[in-house]
C-alpha cells in the first residue's frame, strides 16, 4: 500500500485469502482505511469485493488474514460480533423489516442491552440525535418503514448502523436503487459522517460517483490488489484500465456467419422498472450483446421479451407472429427461448435428471396421449450429451451432480432441443470453467451460422467484444443504440455503462 499513515488506521486488513473449493476468491488482499476517509473499493463483478466485505463483516471466515481495528486485532466470529466491534454494513438490498416502525428497525437487536427493560425515552433521544446527525430530523420514529421512500429507507439503515456506534461503515452499491435527489442527500450524509470521523468503505460501479465521494481508492481484480492511491491522482480511464487489467486475448473462436432478415422487433418496450422505452431489431444469424451494470435492466429486458415479466407498454414482434398476451409457453411456440441468468434457482430443476431437464419444454414430442416413450427420450438426451460434450454418467443423472459448465450446457441443450430461432442468453458463461466457456462461444457462433438470432447479456466485456456482431449498452433501464462490436472498446463500454453517455472510442 502506497499511502503513509501518521496515525494508526481505523481499519487495516492484510493478506486476506479465501478459497471456495478450487476457486480462489481472494489471494492476499490488503485494505487500509483511516478514520475520516471515504475509501472506494472498485473492480469488476467477481473481482472479490463482496467476498472481502463479507470477511470484514464476519459473514465469511477467511483462510488467512490479519485485521486490525484502531490498532487492535479484529477477528469477528460472526456478523453480530463485527457489529458490536463497530463494523456496520449497508447492503444493496436493504435489510429492514418493512412492517416495523423506524424506531423498531433502528433499535432491532440492541434492545436487550438495556437489561430486560427497554428504556424507550433514552433510546428515543438517541434516535432523534442520530436522525439529526443525518440531517433528517423530520423522519418520524413511529412511522412503518414501508411508508418511506427508498432514499429514506437507506437513511434508516444508516441510522441503525450509527446507533451501534459504527466506526467502519461499508456501503455496497448504495445508490443503485436511488433517484437523483436521494443520491445527493446520501452524499451529504456521507460527507457529514466522514467529517465526524467514521471510516467508510464505498463500493460502487458508478465511477463518477466514486470520484465525487471518495478520497482514496483500491482496485481489486481476480482477488488481488492491482492499484490504490488518492482519487485525485487517477483518471477515470486509468481506473477502468486497472479494473480490466489484461488485454483482450484471442480466446474467442469465430465462426463465420451471415446476417439474415429481422426476426425479433422491439418497439418502445417498457417494463415495471426496466426496460424504459427499449427499441431493438435482431436479425437471423446475428449475435447481439447487451452490456451494462448489474441492475441496469438487461435481465428485465430479456424476461420482458420472453413474457416472464410484465410489459407496461410497447411491442415485441417475433418473425410474423404478433399481438396477444405473451407467455413463456407462447414465446416458445413462436421459437423464442430464454437461458435464465441463475441456473440454480431458475434455469434447472436440480433434483431432476438431465433427460428431464433437457426435454422439459418439449416433452410432448415423445408422447402419445400423454404417455411418454422413455426410450426415445433417453436416446435424444444421449444425443445432446454427446453433441455438447456434457460430462455425465448417464441421462438419468441428477443435474445437481454436474459441474457448473455441464449444467450450463444442459440448460443450453434444452433451447437447442426446442430448436428455437431466437435465443435470449442471460450471462451464458457465468460461473463456468474456461474450457466450457470456449465451447459455449463456439456453440453460439455455430448457432448464428445456422441462422439463429442470439441476444446475449454479459457482464464480462471481453466476451461481448470477442463474439458479438453488435453491442448495445444499458444504463439504468435505458437501452443505448447497438453499434458494431469493432467500434467498441472495453473503456467505451464501461464508461457508457457507468455514465449512460456513449462517447466514441
Amino acid at each position: 500500500m502506497g499511502a503513509l499513515h501518521t496515525d494508526t488506521p481505523r481499519l487495516e486488513m492484510r493478506g486476506v485469502c479465501k478459497r471456495f473449493g478450487a476457486t480462489v476468491a481472494l489471494a492476499g488482499v490488503d485494505l487500509t482505511v483511516p478514520a475520516g476517509e471515504v475509501h472506494a473499493l472498485v473492480g469488476e463483478n467477481g473481482a472479490g469485493k463482496s467476498t472481502l466485505m463479507k470477511v470484514l463483516s464476519g459473514a465469511l471466515r477467511p483462510d488467512a488474514s490479519e485485521m486490525w481495528l484502531d490498532g487492535r486485532p479484529f477477528t469477528p466470529s460472526d456478523p453480530l460480533a463485527a457489529r458490536a466491534a463497530g463494523v456496520a454494513m449497508i447492503y444493496q438490498e436493504l435489510n429492514l423489516a418493512p412492517h416495523l416502525t423506524v424506531e423498531q428497525n433502528v433499535t432491532l437487536g440492541i434492545e436487550q442491552h438495556t437489561a430486560g427493560l427497554i428504556h424507550r425515552s433514552a433510546l428515543r433521544r438517541r434516535i432523534a440525535e442520530t436522525l439529526e446527525r443525518l440531517n433528517r430530523p423530520d423522519i418520524r420514529p413511529d412511522v412503518p418503514v414501508r411508508r418511506l421512500s427508498p432514499g429514506e429507507r437507506q437513511l434508516v439503515e444508516i441510522a441503525r448502523a450509527l446507533m451501534t456506534d459504527a466506526r467502519v461503515l461499508v456501503m455496497d452499491e448504495p445508490t443503485s436503487s436511488l433517484g437523483l435527489a436521494d443520491i445527493e442527500q446520501l452524499f451529504g450524509v456521507i460527507e457529514r459522517l466522514r467529517a465526524g470521523g467514521v471510516a467508510i468503505v464505498y463500493i460502487s460501479h458508478f465511477l463518477e460517483e466514486v470520484q465525487r465521494v471518495a478520497q482514496r481508492y483500491t482496485v481489486l481484480r481476480d482477488g488481488r490488489n492491482v492499484g490504490s492511491g488518492l482519487i485525485g491522482d487517477v483518471t477515470l480511464t486509468r481506473l477502468v484500465e486497472l479494473m480490466i487489467g489484461r488485454r483482450l486475448e484471442q480466446m474467442f473462436p469465430r465462426v463465420p456467419h451471415q446476417l439474415g432478415e429481422p426476426v425479433l422487433r422491439i418497439e418502445g418496450l417498457c417494463g415495471r422498472r426496466a426496460p424504459l422505452d427499449a427499441d431493438l431489431t435482431l436479425h437471423r444469424g446475428e449475435i447481439l450483446g447487451l452490456a451494462g451494470l448489474v441492475g441496469a435492466g438487461r435481465t428485465e429486458l430479456l424476461r420482458a421479451i420472453f413474457g416472464l415479466e410484465a410489459v407496461r407498454r410497447g411491442t415485441v414482434r417475433v418473425a410474423n407472429y404478433s399481438g396477444g398476451k405473451q407467455t413463456p409457453a407462447r414465446r416458445l411456440a413462436q421459437g423464442v427461448g430464454l437461458l435464465a441468468e441463475d441456473r440454480q434457482t431458475e434455469g434447472l430443476a436440480l433434483s431432476r435428471s438431465i433427460a428431464d431437464n433437457v426435454m422439459l419444454s418439449r416433452l410432448s414430442s415423445f408422447a402419445r396421449w400423454g404417455w411418454i416413450n422413455l426410450r426415445t427420450m433417453r436416446r435424444a438426451t444421449t444425443e445432446w450429451i454427446r453433441r455438447l460434450d456434457i460430462r455425465a454418467r448417464s441421462t438419468d443423472q441428477r443435474v445437481r451432480e454436474l459441474s457448473g459448465g455441464n449444467q450450463q450446457k444442459a440448460a443450453l441443450a434444452r433451447l437447442l432441443h426446442h430448436d428455437v430461432d431466437v435465443l435470449l442468453l442471460d450471462e451464458p458463461t457465468r460461473g463456468i470453467d474456461v474450457a466450457s466457456k470456449a465451447q459455449v462461444y463456439q456453440l453460439i457462433g455455430e448457432l448464428a451460422a445456422r441462422g439463429k438470432a442470439i441476444l446475449m447479456v454479459s457482464s464480462y466485456i471481453p466476451e461481448l467484444i470477442g463474439i458479438c456482431d453488435r453491442i448495445a449498452v444499458m444504463h439504468r433501464g435505458r437501452l443505448g443504440t447497438p453499434r458494431p462490436a469493432d467500434e467498441w472498446t472495453e473503456h467505451a463500454i464501461i464508461a457508457a455503462a457507468a455514465s449512460g453517455k456513449e462517447a466514441a472510442a
Binding site: L348, S361, L416
Partner: protein
C-alpha cells in the same frame, strides 16, 4: 488459450445408450424400512400365528388412507399440500349416501362420490392458482368449509342408505371365496399400479415432478403451471372421492363427522413413503407402504392389547424416524 474448432453441433458417431440400475437400493428403501418395523413389532411377544384374517384386516384398514394418500402423493410431489382431505372424504361419503337414499342406482352414486371429491380438488386448485394462496392456507380454509357443507346437506346426522352390496367391497373376508382380499383392496392396488405408471410415464407425471422440483424452471419451459396444478388437485380429488365411497361402505352410512384428522394420516403415509414436503420427491409405492405400515402398527397394538394412546405415540415417532432416516440418506448421497 486455444480452442478446439471441432464443431459441436455436427452429428457424431453413435455411443451406447447408458442406463444405471444403481438406484435400486434407493427405490427399495421404503420397503426395507417397512420390513424392519414390521419385524421389530412382531418380535414383541405374544406372537399369535399370522393368519390370513389378520392380513386381510390390515389390508382393509390400509384402504381409505391408502387411496387418499395416492392422490396426496401427486400433490406433495408438486410442492403442495392438502389439509382438506378428511373433510372431503366425509363430504363425499355423505354425498354418496344421499344419492343412494334418493333411490339412485349404484353407478350413479359412485359417480356422485367421485364428482364430489373432484369438485373439492378443483375448488382447492382454483383457490391456490387464481387467488395465489399458499396450498396450506387454502386447504386449511376448505378443511372447515367441506366439513360444514357435509353437515349442512346431512342435517348433521349420519345418512343411512341402502348399500347395494358396497359393504362387500371392504369386508376383510371377501364374500367371493376365491378372492384372497377384499375387492376394495384390489381396487387400491390396481389404481396404485396405474398411478405409478402415470407418475413415471406421462407428461403429467413429469410436470408434477418438475413443478415440485423448481416451479420457476417449469414456467421457463413454457409449462402452464396453474393448469397442471388444477389437473393434479382434481386427480387427487377423484381419489378422495373414492376414499369417501369406501368410507361409506365401511360404515354403511354417510357420516358427516367421520375422518376428522385423517388428513394427517394421509400426509404421514406419503412422508413415510419418501415424499418430501419441499416438493420434487415422492413415490407411489412408498406411499402405499407407508399407509400399510400405519395400519399394521395400529392393528399390532390392538393385538398386543396396548391402549390407543400408545398407538398414537408410536405412529408419531414412526413418522419422525422415517423422515429423519430419509434426511440422513439424502445428506449422505449429496456428499
Amino acid at each position: 488459450m486455444k480452442t478446439e474448432s471441432r464443431p459441436l453441433l455436427e452429428d457424431k458417431t453413435d455411443l451406447p445408450c447408458s442406463s444405471v440400475a444403481g438406484s435400486l437400493l434407493t427405490a427399495l428403501a421404503p420397503f426395507l424400512g417397512l420390513l424392519l418395523v414390521v419385524a421389530l413389532f412382531y418380535a414383541i411377544p405374544p406372537h399369535p400365528p399370522v393368519t390370513m384374517l389378520h392380513l386381510q384386516t390390515v389390508a382393509v384398514h390400509t384402504m381409505i388412507v391408502g387411496i387418499a394418500a395416492m392422490g396426496m402423493t401427486f400433490i406433495i410431489i408438486s410442492g403442495g399440500i392438502d389439509l382438506s382431505v378428511g373433510s372431503a372424504i366425509a363430504l363425499s361419503s355423505v354425498a354418496a349416501a344421499l344419492a343412494l337414499k334418493h333411490g339412485w342406482p349404484l353407478p350413479i352414486a359412485i359417480g356422485v362420490a367421485l364428482a364430489t371429491g373432484a369438485a373439492c380438488g378443483l375448488y382447492n386448485a382454483v383457490l391456490i392458482t387464481a387467488l395465489r394462496l399458499p396450498p396450506f392456507i387454502a386447504t386449511l380454509g376448505t378443511l372447515g368449509f367441506y366439513r360444514g357443507v357435509a353437515k349442512w346437506i346431512s342435517d348433521s346426522m349420519p345418512v343411512s342408505a341402502p348399500t347395494h352390496g358396497l359393504e362387500g367391497w371392504v369386508r376383510p373376508v371377501p364374500i367371493q371365496e376365491w378372492l384372497p382380499f377384499a375387492p376394495g383392496v384390489w381396487l387400491m392396488l390396481g389404481l396404485g399400479v396405474f398411478l405409478v405408471a402415470v407418475l413415471r410415464y406421462t407428461i403429467l407425471g413429469r410436470y408434477t415432478f418438475a413443478i415440485g422440483s423448481n416451479e420457476a424452471t417449469a414456467r421457463l419451459c413454457g409449462i402452464r403451471v396453474p393448469r397442471v396444478k388444477v389437473y393434479i388437485y382434481v386427480l387427487a380429488g377423484l381419489m378422495v372421492g373414492l376414499a369417501g365411497l369406501m368410507q361409506f361402505a365401511r360404515l354403511t352410512q354417510g357420516d358427516p363427522t367421520v375422518a376428522i384428522g385423517l388428513e394427517l394420516d394421509v400426509i404421514a403415509a406419503v412422508v413415510i413413503g419418501g415424499g418430501s414436503l419441499a416438493g420434487g420427491q415422492g413415490s407411489m409405492v412408498g406411499t402405499l407402504a407407508g399407509a400399510f405400515l400405519m395400519a399394521y402398527l395400529r392393528n399390532r397394538c390392538t393385538v398386543l392389547g396396548w391402549p390407543n394412546f400408545v398407538q398414537e405415540m408410536i405412529v408419531g415417532h414412526i413418522i419422525i424416524i422415517a423422515v429423519a432416516v430419509d434426511q440422513w440418506r439424502v445428506r449422505r448421497t449429496a456428499r
